[in-house]
């Protein structure tokens, strides 16, 4: 089955895999994004993900449906976690199942690329020095947390 979710809860990988399970597929490609302890060399403690929930939810569904039209894949799961996430936490999952691995990899790669480009979600870095900063803010200013 296909499944699309914007959630504050931890991402359950085993559950996602059971959703894309299909006896006709030999290839499962999975991308799991996690919160890093640095960004462009600067130490970080974690991220806050802001979201426009209804648009984000409909957008990940549209991305998944487009992947199924463009690639020879059977099932898609896209989950994006939002809220406060510490270093190491999984923030995003794209999982696809396909008869063959080339299409599985291509679809998973396109899926995460589009999630990062097209879904109304924004992240704020909590730098280790105590300041915070939104990603992709033009002329972003750094304010104390």
């Amino acid at each position: 089955m296909d499944y699309y979710l914007i959630t504050e809860d931890p991402i359950n990988l085993a559950e996602a895999l059971s959703m894309i399970d299909d006896p006709s597929t030999g290839a499962q490609a999975i991308f799991l994004g996690t919160v890093r302890n640095e960004f462009e060399g600067r130490p970080s403690l974690g991220l806050y993900y802001d979201v426009y929930p209804p648009m984000a939810q409909s957008q990940i569904r549209k991305i998944g449906e487009a992947l199924k039209e463009e690639f020879d894949i059977r099932h898609v799961v896209i989950i994006h976690r939002i809220g406060e996430l510490p270093v190491g936490a999984a923030s995003v999952l794209v999982a696809v199942s396909a008869p063959h691995r080339e299409q599985a990899f291509a679809a998973a790669k396109a899926g995460i690329d589009r999630v990062k480009q097209q879904v109304p979600i924004w992240k704020k870095e909590h730098w280790a020095d105590g300041s915070s900063q939104w990603h992709d803010e033009p002329e972003g200013t750094q304010e104390p947390r």
Binding site: G33, Y49, D50, V51, Y52, P54, M55, A56, S58, H80, S91, V92, I112, V115, K116, Q117, Q118, V119, P120, I121, W122, K123, K124, W134, H135, D136, E137, P138, G140
Partner: protein, 81 residues
């Protein structure tokens, strides 16, 4: 014809506007572009092209004419993942 719309802000736009949601009384019909220029600039100082807009959860272009009761979302460049 005056109309009332609701505007949603996110990310750094919400920080700068000091709110995530605000109601505006418009004295006459305005496009998204006109509303942005008259009401949001220069609090949101980036040019119009920096933003995406949705109305009632559908993407619109800046020439969309705002109607009474519309919920306009001002969407900064996304950075999910």
């Amino acid at each position: 014809m005056p109309s009332e719309i609701t505007v949603l802000f996110f990310s750094f736009a919400a920080d700068r506007m000091n709110t995530r949601e605000k109601t505006y009384e418009l004295p006459k019909e305005l496009s998204v572009k006109e509303f942005f220029q008259q009401y949001l600039y220069p609090s949101l100082k980036e040019p119009l092209e920096s933003w995406l807009f949705s109305v009632n959860e559908e993407w619109v272009d800046p020439h969309y004419a705002l109607k009474p009761g519309d919920e306009l979302a001002v969407v900064p460049p996304v950075s999910g993942g």
